[in-house]
Symmetry: C2
Subunit: 452 residues, 2 copies
């Protein structure tokens, strides 16, 4: 396996060394041009685990600390990665900017609108960028779909849907009470706690903050039954089984965009189900659905039409004698009635419209967690630090995606009342340059090195 | 084919003889105990077509009229079936009650809250029932799922979703301008114009108006692009191509119920797509999805677990030496972590939990349109007339399902503001008897006759 990708060395400080933090740190340490010089967690055992991982993987002994402010002030830290509990990401990231450090943070959701503004204002004042590590933006299917959207295969986009649909009862319910931020959130809040899967990829498709923006949302929560039923059944002996769960099992959030598109988000984490982000992408020319792994593109995917054509070809030729049959068939195909519409499997399209990044990534060899997407999102951050460029998922993306959580809580609390989504760009979304359709955040350094 | 099912003869007046009206009339006329004595439509050619059908199928010559009031006052009409344009159903049905006739009406959506109240009050004052002909309640999959819900397979229901997702661009766009009610609605309204597929079957599963009720909704419409793009492309020469389309392509409606369940409805009729009602049924024990024709039931459908077990059985037996292995495996299966959750195809469940009505219907032989469900819903009406019983989809169902349309329009118009759904039962929903889990509206007469 080629591992030759390397730029200028980046020295990172890692804040937050729970399961996710350690996993992501390992992926970062697998990069030859990354060093971790400082590790931080509130728990000493985790700090030690972080030091041990660095020693094993890189042979160096990073400084360990329980105080994140120590990480932010160190000269041997070029940039910081925040992977703490959800409600601390924005505060720590804002402080990192004030301390002059580039910062990346794991996903989650904001607890107040103001903490999002604080991040935006601090980034603007200091001129230092922030990156949100929304890995699903880098997943293979989502990137191929982005590619298809940019090439106009769906026509004008009208509607998208997606969600975080992941049975977390066991993770929440078996967790260690005192150290489990997910548990804390599910026992106290009620809203879309984890909106950025699948809002991130959808926002990129809809050019949010770059020619479009999210205007309003409504959010409705179902009753909360799944987690408490599970706790009673499996952990009847524990204090936790008596806990009152506030988080509704299904939270449905409907977002309206400036150019008229709608986005439906589903938060579904406390009922038994297979994992799905349930992505749906729909425009004037077709529709993609993750849940049946299928696509329908007008005039393109019509297997039923072909079947019909085979049966009726002779008669058709008789009726259209003297005409150009290819033209006749093409005309018919494009105007095929709705009962000839049929889903086609997405596999073929995935290969045909593979994102350029994923083409080279597959040659390079997938690595890191979650089917390879973790590596890509982390690499994009590392390269933005090396090259001192804007990260592909920037402070406006971060603020507008994360703010959905607290706005969703507000709407749920007010019986589904619509809530305005702030324009964190102060009107600049109208003129901000649309992203390169095929760059999507990894600089050429990565691929040139690989190509060498 | 056995056709021996017959009770007391029912003489029907048919109001509305468009494509749907004529189709449903043919299904009614296929029943040996049904006569059509009067046919009515605003257009003379349709009246004549109706008379011709009766002559061909039954050998009688019904009275033909352009005035629906004439149908309502005739002594040779026992009951009336209203299959006119959407915005006239409720008015004509209410007048039928005032004239002392039992009435069934095709689906659609209400244009005002008050016309729903008028229907309810008139039915209460006259003591005459109304039936809504929501055929999807009688579809095979929906009835099997109702059966499963009533048997508790999904645990406590928490969330349902569904919609009318049907590419109607061709039907609307190629229609005759002056005579096309769907066209009129899409060019002037904006909301969920056609909510009862799939709200009807969902409402039955959630015991709406019988122990539960719908409290509020929010509704959000996307921009309207699909139909106008289609008209420009295909009918550029016509006046219609210049028409302004008001109806958003995708309207998402989120309903909250008294017992905390949420229902998400999608109206999706002007973008290219295969047909789907997108039913989703979700509870504390599992989930069904129409779109992948799959189901997951905790502790029941875990094919991945079986795979895992096969690979790890030897080690498991070593670790649990001396224990009852069946018990060990059962315990493990029930607590399998979420990554072992996997969809299972619904086919097997459909057969295992086939609704009793569908078992006998399949022996009897499916007939009528839409995969057989039209026949069942019409038969339920005919039998409720014969036996002078309450129809299975009654005036409270009709009012509360149809009112969703105008409430959705209100919410869309007010930027997604929540709107209260009236309690048409005046509080009686709390104590109204829950339906028999397996009867669902067809009287025994039908099956006894068949069994003879």
């Amino acid at each position: 396996m080629k591992m030759g990708v390397a730029g200028k060395e980046v020295r990172l400080g890692i804040i937050g060394l729970g399961g996710r933090g350690r996993g992501q740190m390992k992926t970062l340490l697998s990069m030859p041009d990354v060093q971790v010089t400082c590790v931080c967690d509130l728990y000493e055992d985790r700090v030690q685990a972080g030091i041990d991982i660095c020693r094993e993987m890189k042979g160096n002994e990073p400084v360990g600390t329980k105080r994140y402010r120590e990480v932010l002030t160190r000269d041997d830290v070029d940039a910081v990665v925040v992977m703490t509990s959800w409600t601390t990401h924005l505060h720590i990231a804002t402080e990192a900017l004030r301390a002059g450090k580039r910062v990346a943070m794991e996903v989650g959701g904001a607890a107040s609108v103001d903490e999002c503004w604080q991040l935006v204002r601090t980034s603007e004042e200091t001129g230092i960028p922030v990156m949100l590590l929304e890995n699903c933006c880098y997943n293979r299917e989502e990137m191929a779909l982005l590619n298809m959207v940019k090439q106009g295969l769906f026509g004008e986009l009208v509607h998208c849907a997606g969600g975080y649909q992941h049975d977390l009862r066991e993770e929440i319910g078996n967790g260690d009470l005192a150290r489990h931020y997910r548990q804390d959130n599910f026992l106290n809040r009620n809203g879309d706690l984890y909106p950025t899967h699948e809002l991130g990829p959808i926002a990129k498709m809809l050019n949010i903050n770059r020619g479009n923006r999210m205007l309003t949302l409504t959010s409705t929560a179902s009753k909360a039954r799944g987690l408490s039923a599970w706790l009673k059944e499996r952990r009847g002996d524990s204090e936790l089984s008596k806990a009152h769960v506030t988080q509704g099992d299904i939270v449905t959030t409907v977002i309206k965009c400036a150019h008229g598109e709608t986005i439906v988000l589903t938060h579904d984490c406390t009922l038994p189900r297979p994992y799905s982000r349930g992505l749906r992408v729909q425009g004037t020319k077709g529709i993609y659905m993750e849940d049946n792994q299928s696509i329908f593109l007008e005039g393109k995917t019509q297997p039923k039409f072909d079947e019909w054509l085979e049966k009726n070809r002779a008669e058709l030729e008789k009726n259209h004698k003297g005409e150009n049959m290819d033209e006749v068939i093409e005309r018919l195909r494009n105007s095929a009635p709705d009962w000839l519409h049929e889903w086609e499997k997405f596999d073929g399209y995935l290969k045909e419209y593979e994102h350029p990044l994923w083409k080279v990534y597959q040659e390079f060899g997938l690595r890191g967690g979650h089917g390879g997407m973790d590596y890509l999102v982390l690499r994009a951050f590392v390269e933005s630090v090396q090259n001192q460029t804007e990260p592909p998922i920037d402070v406006y993306d971060a603020a507008s995606w994360l703010v959905i959580t607290c706005l969703s809580e507000q709407s749920v609390a007010m019986g589904g009342a619509p809530v305005a989504i702030p324009d964190f760009t102060d009107g600049n979304w109208i003129c901000r340059e649309a992203e390169e359709p095929n760059a999507y955040g990894l600089s050429k350094v990565f691929w040139e090195k690989f190509e060498d």
